[in-house]
């Protein structure tokens, strides 16, 4: 089997496992869709101020929600599914086959990127049709942000498995790390950029994925061609850190008690 065919083979397996698992399909897919309908319905007639421009709440919220969806599909999904499979011995068993480690990881990442892309497409379409959101102004920048964001949060998901002791601890640890950042990064409401939480958020990748998504949608037409080089840089540094931790310390077997 060629390398590409091998990765496609793994992506197929990961897709089956993802959509058939009620927990992963719910947290990574249904939850963002529920948030989309709930928040977009409640605040559909309000607007918010972003960098001196007034935009409709949903024009602000939809790109942020897409970023939130990408984090769930990549970071949360990979961390939890690796921890569960590691504990049950499935990872060790795969390690005993000729499948190379890189192909296994590529399958996980590829599958998460597919889920992220589907979520991005559906959320955008639903936003436009049901909530009158502006179509993304800069499609190339949107695709670049989606690709960079997905891969970076996959790498962080792989990295965080190192500190997860067992399967039961996976979801609580991941949510404890992710949710505070999601709130202080202004996913659901704008945050005063001079405030301390907003300043803290600028050091973490969550804020930068949201900002890059909002630049790509650019409802006020102020983001040039929508590329957010600085946001990409911060995300890339975090992604690299996650990758290095994963390469050095990734475990295929449960922690021995």
């Amino acid at each position: 089997m060629s390398d590409a065919a091998m990765v496609a083979h793994q992506v197929g397996y990961e897709q089956r496992s993802f959509w058939r698992n009620p927990a992963s399909a719910f947290f990574a897919f249904a939850l963002p869709m529920v948030f989309l309908v709930v928040f977009a319905s409640i605040f559909r007639n309000t607007d918010v101020e972003v960098a001196g421009h007034r935009v409709a709440y949903n024009d602000y919220y939809i790109p942020a929600l897409i970023a939130f969806g990408v984090m769930g599909a990549c970071f949360t999904n990979i961390a939890v599914s690796v921890a569960v499979r590691r504990d049950s011995g499935i990872l060790k068993r795969m390690r005993g086959t000729p499948l190379p480690a890189w192909a296994f990881i590529a399958g996980l990442v590829g599958s998460s990127v597919v889920v992220s892309a589907v979520l991005t497409g559906l959320t955008t379409l639903f936003g436009i049709v049901a909530f009158g959101v502006h179509a993304p102004a800069h499609v190339p920048a949107l695709l670049a942000t989606l690709a960079i964001g997905s891969v970076v949060f996959c790498a962080l998901g792989l990295g965080v498995t190192v500190v997860i002791p067992n399967a039961e601890a996976a979801a609580p640890i991941v949510q404890l790390l992710l949710l505070p950042l999601v709130f202080i990064s202004g996913t659901f409401f704008t945050i005063d950029q001079g405030s301390l939480p907003a300043k803290i958020a600028t050091y973490f990748p969550v804020r930068h994925l949201i900002a890059a998504m909002q630049s790509a949608f650019d409802p006020a037409g102020v983001a040039g061609d929508g590329w957010s080089t600085n946001d990409y840089k911060v995300m890339a540094i975090w992604g690299l850190a996650g990758l290095i931790v994963a390469i050095r310390h990734f475990r295929w077997e449960p922690r021995h008690t």
């Binding site: 089997m1 397996y13 499935i90 060790k92 000729p98």
Partner: protein, 296 residues
């Protein structure tokens, strides 16, 4: 060439010596039983051979290759059944086998594999709906997917009920008849006796006995065991052959059974005891095993 060669193998975890100077060889086409109680070092030895653990010292060769350096090419030629049954619950039997088929250069046909492990009626069932025994058979099926030369079975029947164990034994015999070399670990002597061509008994990381079931049993040659329930108030001091008493049962071993039984019956008749449940047996392989692995 031998399928497996192990010479002077050592492995410690901290100050615990899991393996202290273990040596054995496995010939192609044989079923080799690695037997021992929990903690004897069986799984450590097998995981070193499978390439999951590094050894501290010694020589190890699996199909002519050092498992620490064998990588992908060695893994294409071996099949593993680990101690923990590990099959993803949400796929179907066929899907999982097809997934694993993609990992090997010349996999066996899916239908063949399902037939071999007797899961034909379950081929489209989700794995989570299978019984524990069926999941274990699927686990065994995965080890056969790549049509390996050598298969490691690490305690494949632990936790099975008697009928599931018999089915698993038949499965191992099927694998043997395909010409596979099999290294089987177990802590059941009867399992090793049923399946293995040769047995190696480990205790505290040391080989305490090795040979065919017949040759191990030869260690009991010439020994006869006599057991009887000790009658109430019996006066053992007057009995010529020395006996051991455990839980009200007296037993002794002798190399001169005629003389011993004569003395014993004379003693009993003189005291009007009938020794109703007396047994005269040759020690079983199980007895040999228990003696070899007993705690000091």
């Amino acid at each position: 060439m031998q399928a497996i060669v192990v010479r002077g193998l050592r492995k410690s975890y901290g100050s615990t010596h899991a393996l202290a100077d273990v040596s054995f060889e496995v010939q192609p086409g044989e079923v080799f039983g690695l037997l021992g109680p929990n903690g004897a070092g069986k799984t450590t030895a097998v995981e070193i051979l499978e390439g999951f653990r590094r050894r501290d010292a010694g020589e190890v060769s699996v199909l002519g290759v050092d498992p620490e350096r064998g990588g992908r090419h060695l893994r294409q030629r071996i099949g593993l059944v680990l101690q923990e049954c590990a099959v993803p619950p949400l796929l179907t039997v066929t899907e999982l086998i097809d997934l694993y088929r993609g990992y090997y250069p010349a996999p066996r046909p899916t239908a063949d594999i399902i037939e071999l492990v007797g899961l034909g009626e379950k081929s489209t069932a989700r794995i989570k709906t299978l019984s524990g025994g069926q999941q274990r058979r699927l686990d065994v099926a995965l080890s056969l997917v790549g049509d390996p030369e050598l298969i490691f079975l690490d305690e494949p029947t632990t936790g099975f009920d008697p009928s599931a164990r018999r089915q698993a034994w038949d499965l191992v015999r099927n694998m043997r008849s395909l010409g596979k070399t099999i290294l089987l670990t177990t802590h059941y002597m009867d399992e090793a006796q049923q399946l293995a061509d040769r047995i190696c008994i480990l205790r505290h990381g040391v080989v305490v006995a090795e040979g065919t079931p017949q040759s191990l049993r030869a260690a009991t040659d010439g020994r006869t065991r006599v057991r009887f329930t000790l009658p109430a108030g019996a006066d053992l001091a007057a009995l010529a052959p020395p006996v051991t008493v455990e839980d009200g049962v007296a037993w002794l071993e002798t190399t001169t059974p005629a003389q011993t039984l004569h003395d014993l019956t004379a003693w009993a008749l003189a005291r009007d005891l009938d020794l109703a449940d007396i047994e005269v047996t040759r020690p079983s392989l199980e007895d040999v095993y228990l003696e070899l692995t007993a705690h000091e």
